[in-house]
Amino acid sequence: MEEPYEQELKFEEVKEEKNIVKNTIFWIFKNIKFLLIPGSRLEDLSRREFEYEKTISKRKFIRRLKSVLTILGMIIIFIIITFAIHGAWIAPYTREVANGVLTGSWDPPTPSNLLGQTKFGRDVLSRAIYGAYSSLTIALPAITFSVIVGVIVGMISGYYGGWVDSVIMRITDVFLAFPGLILALVFIAIWGQHMEYIMLAFGILGVPYYARLIRGSVLQARELPYVEAARVSGSGNWRLMFRHVLPNCIQPIIISFTFDIGGIILSLAGLSFLGYSDMTLIEWGNDISVARLHLTDAPWSMFWPGIMILVTVMGFMLVGDGLRDALDPRMKNL
């Protein structure tokens, strides 16, 4: 037993020795220009200074983010994501049972159904937990789609300007003038009530909004001297757009992203309330709409899905608020 252990030790020692040799050679190679070229050390110093500033600003950011409300929001989001991924471990009934046709119906809370029963005797508590899955799986891809497409469209529009800009902006105007929920509803009516189409409908709805958002900041950023410098040093249009201008405009997008996850979960619930949802999914809005006709005799079946929506959306909004306070340069002095 001991022999291999010793061997291992020896092996490590040898390795370390090798490493030391390697490191010294490396150090000489790395610093040879300091030894040869006078003044070149300054570059390194300024780089270190930059890194130092970076860590400082990162620490400041984290300190500003560490408010009670933001942490509360993060905890809520964490819980909801846990519900979405591991719902089957937490909920008292399996997904099939919670979505199946059972014997009871609209029964008040009992020890076996802690929050009561809804249509077909389904367990309200289980459905409230499983609902997290469908909300998040629809909201996250939808918002990612709108951010990616919106950023590309808005970037092109803001960067090139001229007639490209005015055409794109007129199209976004049209979409923004149209009531959003109605547009989603019409899209879903045309394509059919499937999860993927609902995602796509919400994704398309978000595009003009994000295009608008990023266009505004691109218009400001592209006039900055460092962009000019990058252009002079020979960057192409695409490199300029996505390596130089985009990082400077990403902050409002990040803030809006967090808010909009909540917003989409809310509109999704509204859409399912109107009856436009994927009926195979367990979905909070749909549960509320089903329970609406039994408001007087089974209020519990309406109450809990709504609380879940409220808490989830609040979690995302709290984190969005926290991010905005931490990132927004205008608020720094306050």
Binding site: V174, A177, P179, I182, V186, G270, L295, G306, V313, M314
Partner: protein
């Protein structure tokens, strides 16, 4: 004079938007599944009846010709007749009645929300990170995150079914008639015909939906006012005003609040436009027979004509509200020139 010029220029620049929305509606309505004619005809219809109906509605023509006719009809005010929803009723009458009901609710909610929201927002900003601010922020956050329809149902359950204070559903009690139509605004019609019973009944029915909508609008106005007030309070001129010895009340009222109003007005306008066109959920919850509900029903029944009429009307109101906001900017901030 410059103002009139500004209005005209603004309206002209919004024409493409109007045109785009109308075109989009046309395309979407023709893409929608379902055939209005089959829905309209009796179940055992013959092919002859179908073709006759098709020709009568103009749906047998080429799609481009349909589009041109549709554009002409919209702008000349000939919005056609509802086919599947309420067969034979002119769309104009149908839409107008619903529009004014939604208008009543929207205007009441926006007034309450603006009046309170400006106050709560300013209080929240001036008491930053104090208990008052925390409470108000909490309420505003709940208002932004709450699903409207769910809140409506909770209010219905509490106030209508449990406490029996207000009627929970509809806009009038069964058996109560309508006042003679003069202005289409039910409140004014009631006052003109001196019919207090109908008026009281109508207002009782509107309390819960207005409470619901105004809470949500109030929340977003409070949040916007708070953040723009905070931004303004950090400005140099506020410090100058304090340094020269202005009372804190005057600093807030005249120096800070006026400058914080511009973004808030934008949010108020957006909310008002949203209430006029998109109060679908609340109207469905309270069964109010408003414009949004009509829109949903017209989509479900593939009634192109009603759908087009509603979208045209809501887009026009959207444009008018936007224009109004631009004009209000000038009154609040005289530096803004048209």
């Amino acid at each position: 004079m410059s103002m009139i010029k500004f209005i005209i220029r603004r309206l002209l620049s919004l024409l493409p938007v109007l045109f785009g929305v109308i075109t989009l509606t046309f395309i979407l309505s023709r893409l929608m599944p379902g055939d209005p004619i089959i829905a309209h005809l009796p179940k055992n219809f013959t092919e002859e009846m179908y073709l006759e109906m098709l020709a009568q509605l103009g749906l047998d023509r080429p799609i481009l010709e349909q589009y041109v006719i549709y554009l002409g009809d919209l702008f000349t005010g000939n919005w056609g007749v509802s086919v599947t929803l309420a067969p034979g009723t002119p769309v104009w009458d149908l839409v107008l009645e619903r529009f004014f009901r939604t208008f009543d609710i929207a205007i009441a909610s926006i007034f309450i929300a603006t009046f309170l929201g400006l106050k709560t927002g300013v209080i929240s900003a001036t008491h930053r990170n104090k208990p008052k601010d925390t409470i108000l922020r909490g309420f505003a956050l709940v208002g932004v995150a709450i699903p409207v329809f769910w809140m409506g149902m909770v209010l219905q359950y509490l106030f209508a079914f449990q406490l029996d204070l207000f009627p929970g559903i509809g806009y009038k009690t069964a058996g109560i008639g309508d006042p003679p139509v003069v202005t289409h605004l039910r409140v004014i019609d009631c006052i003109l015909s001196l019919d207090m019973v109908i008026l009281v009944d109508y207002i009782e029915h509107l309390i819960l939906p207005v409470l619901c909508l105004s809470f949500i609008t109030l929340a977003s106005i409070t949040r916007q006012t708070r953040s723009s007030m905070l931004e303004v309070l950090g400005q140099d001129y506020v410090r100058t005003a304090r340094a020269k010895g202005c009372k804190e009340k005057d600093v807030i009222k005249t120096h800070a609040r006026k400058n914080a109003l511009i973004p808030t007005i934008t949010i108020i306008g957006l909310n008002f436009g949203g209430l006029l066109s998109g109060a679908v959920l609340t109207e469905t919850t309270f069964n109010l027979h408003g414009l949004g509900e009509l829109l949903i029903v017209s989509i479900q029944n593939t009634d192109y004509w009603v759908l087009n009429g509603i979208v045209f009307l809501t887009t026009i109101t959207f444009i008018v509200i936007n224009l109004g906001i631009d004009l209000i900017y000038g009154f609040i901030d005289p530096r803004i020139r048209y």
